[in-house]
Subunit: 342 residues, 2 copies
């Protein structure tokens, strides 16, 4: 039995959506056990009406919750009975617990991972790596999207190695195309950080580095992994989300204002449904916090049941694909080559 620890009180739709998501996940994987962390009374109230294999679910009681409005590091220290802190404690203390899933405060999940769990030896900085759908029907990973707003070139190269191990082992893309986010595609583009990182990535034997990439190409499907500092990665991710939401909003309000467009919409429902499905983050699991000693999957704050199921299965599959040990091995190899060169 593989144990995934679930923060049952993280996210806008908790505790119902995480709990139902867990029950769905254990139906699909009989080797999976989900540890629900949160107010036991409330969890039991939801569970009592459900049918499920009771050997696949357990509960860790946690009466407190960390909200988005709190300072993450202070909250992790001052709320030992919160669902996130208790979940991290359980994850750390139990060898058969392999991963944590939470849709709670991103800051609290990242701080908890740092403070309670720790990073893999040799990893300079863990990084947040979400997945987006592309126009060609595939996926693209962005690493980092906000865990590290200030980075050096070694950090960025570690992001590339970690995301490469993740995408290769978990999505079966044999030689992921890795690009460096930059202000132009030419080799010499960008600031000192980008120029240095470019040269380091170019020299890595195990990375299929395809050069600099402009932000415009993110969804093109021509790249599998985008490497960037957490500040510009955050801008890249959020402006893409914002543009799509605003465009769909503009489309919707214009359709509503015209009679003929309303008719047209009825004929086009399948198209909009397909587009919505493609763009729905609930279908893509969560952002992985790469470089920690165990697997951390951070779901979107507004995750629904389906998204929790996806995040839990993602954690289960990443464990099966041995993402953590693979990543650790490649980081050690890179660091030792770097030390030999110096």
């Amino acid at each position: 039995m593989v144990k995934v620890v679930l923060d049952a009180f993280g996210g806008d739709n908790s505790p119902l959506a995480p709990i139902e998501g867990a029950l769905e996940a254990i139906k699909l994987q009989e080797d999976l056990h989900v540890v629900l962390v949160g107010d036991e009374t409330k969890i039991n109230k939801i569970l009592k009406d459900k049918k499920y294999n009771t050997s696949q679910i357990s509960i860790i009681d946690a009466k407190d919750v960390i909200t988005n409005d709190e300072s993450p590091t202070v909250a992790i220290r001052q709320k030992p009975d919160s669902s996130i802190v208790k979940a991290f404690n359980y994850l750390k203390e139990n060898d058969d617990a392999v991963a944590l899933v939470s849709a709670g405060s991103t800051g609290a999940v990242l701080s908890g991972a740092f403070m309670k769990l720790g990073r893999i030896k040799g990893v300079s900085r863990p990084a947040l790596c979400p997945i987006l759908p592309t126009a060609k029907g595939g996926i693209v990973a962005i690493c980092d999207t906000g865990a590290n707003v200030e980075c050096d070139s070694k950090n960025l190269v570690h992001f590339a190695i970690m995301a490469n191990a993740y995408i290769k082992n978990n999505y079966g893309i044999m030689s992921p195309r890795v690009a460096l986010l930059n202000v132009g595609t030419e080799d010499h583009k960008g600031d000192a950080l980008r120029k240095e990182t470019f040269e380091m990535l170019k020299s890595l034997p195990n990375i299929n580095f395809v050069g600099n990439m402009e932000a415009r190409e993110l969804l093109s499907g021509d790249v599998d992994i985008v490497v960037c500092d957490g500040f510009s990665g955050n801008v890249l991710l959020k402006s893409t989300e914002g543009a799509i939401l605003n465009l769909l909003g503009m489309l919707k309000s214009d359709i509503k204002s015209r009679f003929s467009s309303k008719i047209g919409y009825l004929f086009m429902k399948k198209t909009f449904k397909a587009l919505k499905k493609t763009l729905d983050y609930n279908n893509y699991g969560g952002a992985v916090f790469l470089g920690c000693k165990k697997l951390i999957v951070k779901g979107h704050g507004s995750s629904k049941t389906k998204s929790f199921t996806e995040c839990i299965l993602q954690a289960f599959n990443m464990n099966k694909a041995e993402v953590v040990p693979n990543l650790e091995r490649e980081i050690i190899e890179f660091n030792s080559n770097l030390n030999n060169e110096e």
Copy 2:
């Protein structure tokens, strides 16, 4: 007569689109004179079939062209007979020439502005400031989007002051809402650069600083000016463009694949036309290179006739609104306050 200098050999659709754009612009403004810079023979060949007021057009011969593939600084030095270099020389040497419009290589336009024209005294760094349409039907300016990939807090504050003078005087928005691009909205968010800039912007009496902004909000219509370093501003602009293009592309290919959606599209044509019009950069003039001694408007590389007309009129109107002297006055005032404090 106000003279606007036009690089007639910049952009994918040159020389036809710039020349036709100029003829359209002089029809709309009888006080406007456009100086067409480029191969005189080719320009005359296009002009000879057109009807226009000949006192509003003149030509400066330039046999060479700088392309996107060349190193901008090298090209500016080594191609004295290129349309961009000749245009900058004319702009510099003639008091009645107030602005330059080009849809050529961005790098060459920026380098030419630095090397041939120079910046306004007191401006630490000129910055590129394009305009985007928002979901509420207004506009939003981003400053800087790539002229300065490495910035300090004083640079960012200068960007805010310059964009504020531009938007206030040219678009008649009395107290533009200025936001700082950051990874979160809370006051303490971001790296050292953002924290320092936040405090400086907060203390400016003439700037309506509304705090930190996430990239997601760019098109929301809740902000008039986004202040950012050129690296993240470039990512912000290009990922927004890329997301919109890819989303429309996905929509189009899905519509083509379904019979009912094709029918629906016929009913929704007006909606798509309205959306296309809203999103078409040809309707929004060009990106202004703020902080140079005269006005520089950089059109999109794929500008059509209409876009050239808009860029030329934008330059004409900015001159009328006295954007350069206003901007200069506000920068001097800020710098002297800063010196008094120190």
